[in-house]
Amino acid sequence: MSPVLPSLSRRGFLTGGALVVSFALAPRAFAQLAGGGEGGAGPTVVAPDLKGSLKSTPWLDAWIRIDADGRVTVFTGKVELGQGIRTALTQVAAEELDIPPAAITLVTADTERTPDEGLTAGSHSMQDSGTAIQNAAANVRMLLAAEAARGWGLPADQVTTGGDGRLHAPDGRSLPYGEVAARLSLHVQAVPDAPLRRPSDYRTLGRELPRIDIPAKLTGGAAYLHDMRLPGMLHARVVRGPSVGTSLQSPDLDAVARMPGVVKIVRQGGFLAVVAERQWTAIQALRHLQRAAYARTQSPLPADGTGDAVAATLKALPARDIPIMDTGEPAGPAIRTVKARYTRPWISHGSIGPSCAIAQYVDGTMTVWTHSQGTFDVHRVVAELLGLPPERVHAIHAEGAGCYGQNGADDVAADAAVIAKAVPGHPIRLQWMREQEFGWEPLGPGMMTELEAALGADNRIVSWRHAVWSNPHNNRPVGAGGVLAGNEADPPFPAPEGKPIPMPEGDGSRNSNPLYSFANTHVVYHFLKDMPVRVSALRSLGAHLNVFSIESMLDELAAGAGIDPLAIRLDHMRDERARDVMQAAADRFGWSKRPKGDGRRGCGMAFARYKNLGAYCAVAMEVEVDRETGRTLVRRAVAAVDCGQPANPDGVRNQIEGGLVQSLSWTGREAVRFAADRRASFDWSSYPILRFGDVPGSVEVVVMDRPGAPFLGTAEAAQGPSAAALANAIADATGVRLRDMPLSPERLKAALGPV
C-alpha cells in the first residue's frame, strides 16, 4: 500500500475522504517563526506555555485521534520531502503513546485535516512538529491512564502502559486504548507538564526503524504526486519563454488548437497553457508553441561568471545595512591580519523530478494536490489568485521529488489551479518540463562576504569583521504575487518586496554570527532588496557561504601562524556540545595522525551549529588533487552531528551524508550561467552536478547520543561545514586557497599554474 496515500480510495481523494476529523483551527496571523521564519503568515501563538507547534494548536484532537477499535491517527502540518520526517514523527508519536509504530497512520499537511505548522523548512520539523506530537502524545497517554485508573478505582500512578496499546493495572487487569479513549474527549488543550517517557525506557525513539516510505519507492508503488491518476484526468503544460523575465511573441495558437487530442488552450493575461487528453500531446503542443520568438521583459540579468562577476553584480545593488553583531572586549594588539573576500554564484535546486501538481475544480471548490513545502500557503495563494473564498480551496500535500528549498512547486500548483478553473470538473495534472524548472524556479541567491580577522600574540583572535551581501532568501509565496501565474494575471498581482528574516534565524545573515568566542566581533548584513535574478530559499540559506567564509578564514589564520586547524577552533569555542562534535569528528577521522599536505593530498575540517540554534555538525575530509587537471577527489569524509535526541539515527546519518555530498556538488562545480537575455543553464549538461565518478570514496557519520535532549533540526546542518572542509582540504593539499565558488577543476588548475 502506498505510504503517501494511505488507505484512501480514489473516491476518497475526490471527496476529501472518510477520515476527515473536525477540530478548531487556530486563527492565523503574522507572528511565529514557524518553519524557521520562511514564508509569511505563520499560525498565531495562542498557548505560549506549550512546546513546539502546540503553542499555536493546543488541542489534542488536532494532533491525535484514537478510534474505538484502537487505530491511531496522528496529524502533522509538516510534510515528507525525502528527509524521512514521516518515519521520525511516527516514531515520536509511537514512543510517547507507547504503542507500536505500525499502529499509527500519519496524516501530513492538508488544509482541512491537519494543523497549520507553517512551512516544512528551516530544519524546524522536529522542533515544531516533533515536539508538539511528543507532548500531545504524552498528554493523551496521561489522560488515558487517568481514565483507566478512574474506572478501576485506582490512583492514576498505578496504571502503566507496556508498548502494546493497552493500559495495565497492577493486579493484571488491562484495557485497550480504544476502549478507554471512547470514554474521553480529546478536544481539550494540552498541559505543559505531561510527563514524558524516560529515555532509558524508549522502545521506538532513537531506534533505526526502516523508513515507511521506502518500500513503495523501490518497487514502483504510488509514492509521489506524480503517480496519482484520477478519473477524467487531463494533462497540461504551461507555456512560457525560456526563463524568468522573458515572454513568447505570438505563439502559434491556431495550429495547436487544431492538433488532435488538444482539449483546450488556456490564455488569461500573460498566462498560457495547453490541455490535452494525453501527456505526449500536451508536450508536442508546448514544443510547437515554444518555437515562437521571445523577448526579455524584465531588467537585465547579472553578467555571466563567478567570483569577481558575482561581486560586481552585488556591489552595484543598493544596500540596507543591518547590524548583526557588535562586541568589544579588551584584547592585545594584532600580530597577523588576514582579509579575504568569498563568493557564491547563483545555484539551482536541481530537483531530479520537475515540479508537478494536480488541481480539480468541482462545484465551486478547488482542490490542489501539491508537493510545496507550504501546503497552507498554497491554499492562500490559490484563493487570492482565483478570487475564491478560503473555504472553497483545499490544498493537500503529496510527495514530490526532493526540493531543497523553494523550487517550482508553489508555481506549478498555482499554474494547475488556474488551468483547472478554466476546465471545470476534470483533474488537471501539470508537470513542468526540465528546462522550465531550470528556467523559472527561484534560484539560491548569489552572495558575497568580506572578512577581516586578526590574531594576537597568544594565538587568540583579537578582532573579527564579517560583512555579507545578499538578496533576500525568503521570497516564499504567501499571496498571489509570489507565484508566476499571479505575475502573469491581468491585472497582475505584483511580486512583493523581499524582506530579510531577522536574527537569530536570519536569511543572508544566517550563521554570519560566529558561535566562536572572538574578541571584537563586528558583523553586518548588506541586505540587497533588488533582485536581478528570481531567487528564494535554498537549503541552509546564507549559512552555506557564511560558514564557508568563517571556517575558511579560521584555516587561513591558522595556516599563517602554524596552528592546527582543530586547535584554533577548540581554543575559541566554549560551547561543550560544539567541542564534542569537533572532537568526535576528529577522533573518528584520525585527525591527529592525518597525512600532511604534500602537494596532492591534504585534509581539512570545519564546524558550524546551524543558525547557532539547530544541530551541531563538524566535517573532516581528505582530498586528492590531480594537478594536471585540477580535479579534486574526496577520498574520505567523516561528519559528526549532535541533533539532540535523534528520532532515528540512521535517518540523521542519511540527511548528513546527503547534505555533505550535495554540498560538495554545490561548492565544487555548480553555477547557473546567464546569457544576455535568459538563463543559459537549462539542462544537466549546461548545469552539471556531481555524478558517481566524483563522489567521495567513503562518508561516515557519527551521531552523538543525547538521550532525551530537545530535538534540533538536522537537515541543513552539513551544507556549510562540508563546503568549508573541502576548501580547507584543497588548501592543505596544494597551498592554494580558493575563495570563490565553485572550487572547480578549472579554477584550481588556473591557481596551481603550470605543472
Binding site: 500500500m1 520531502l81 525525502g82 524521512g84 526502516p210 523508513r211 521506502i214 518500500p215 513503495a216 519507492k217 523501490l218 518497487t219 514502483g220 508503488g221 504510488a222 509514492a223 509521489y224 506524480h226 503517480d227 491518476r229 494533462h235 494525453r278 501527456q279 505526449w280 508536450i283 536541481g350 530537483s351 531530479i352 523530478g353 520537475p354 510527495e399 514530490g400 521529488a401 526532493g402 531543497y404 508537470q431 518540463m433 526540465r434 542519511n654 540527511q655 551524508e657 546527503g658 547534505g659 555533505l660 555530498v661 550535495q662 556538488s665 539542462d683 544537466w684 549538461s685 552536478i689 556531481l690 555524478r691 558517481f692 565518478g693 563522489v695 567521495p696 570514496g697 567513503s698 562518508v699
Partner: protein, 163 residues
Amino acid sequence: MTVTITVNGADHALDIDPATPLLYVLRDDLELNGAKYGCGLGQCGACTVHIDGKPAFSCLTPVGAVAGRRIRTVEGLGSADAPGLLQQAFEKEQAAQCGYCIAGMLMRAQALLDRNPDPDEAQIRAHMQTNLCRCGTHMRILRAIRRAVAMRKGVQSAQDVRP
C-alpha cells in the same frame, strides 16, 4: 496505429502514436509508476528501463521502436511484498531520500549485475555514472549494490565487502 509491447512478461496492444516516448506509455497507459520523467533528454537516468536486457532511457525511446522487444521496469524486479534481491539490498541500506531517482538507479544497477554478478567498486561507479541523484544518496546506493553482490554470494553482511 496498434503497437504491441511486452512489459515485464505481459503483452499489451496499444492504439497509439508510435512516436510517443515509451516513458509516457509505461506511466500513463500501463499505469506503471517506476520509470520517472526527469529530463526527457537522456541526461539523468530517472526513466531507465531494460530493453532486451540492456538499460535504456525510456524518455528517448519511441514506443514504435520497441514493438516485440522485452521491456522490464522496476515493477518487474519485485514488489513491496516480494522484493527482488537488489530491492532488498536497497531496503537494507535505506538507500533513498526523496527516492525519485531510485527506480532508475535500480534498473541501471540490475543491468550491471545481470551482465557481471561480481563487479568491483570501480566498475560499479563507472556503470552508475549515467544516473543522477540530487539528495546525495550516492554512498548508500553504492553500498546497496555491493550488498546485493554479497547477498548473491551468500554473504549476509555488506560490511565484509566495503572497500
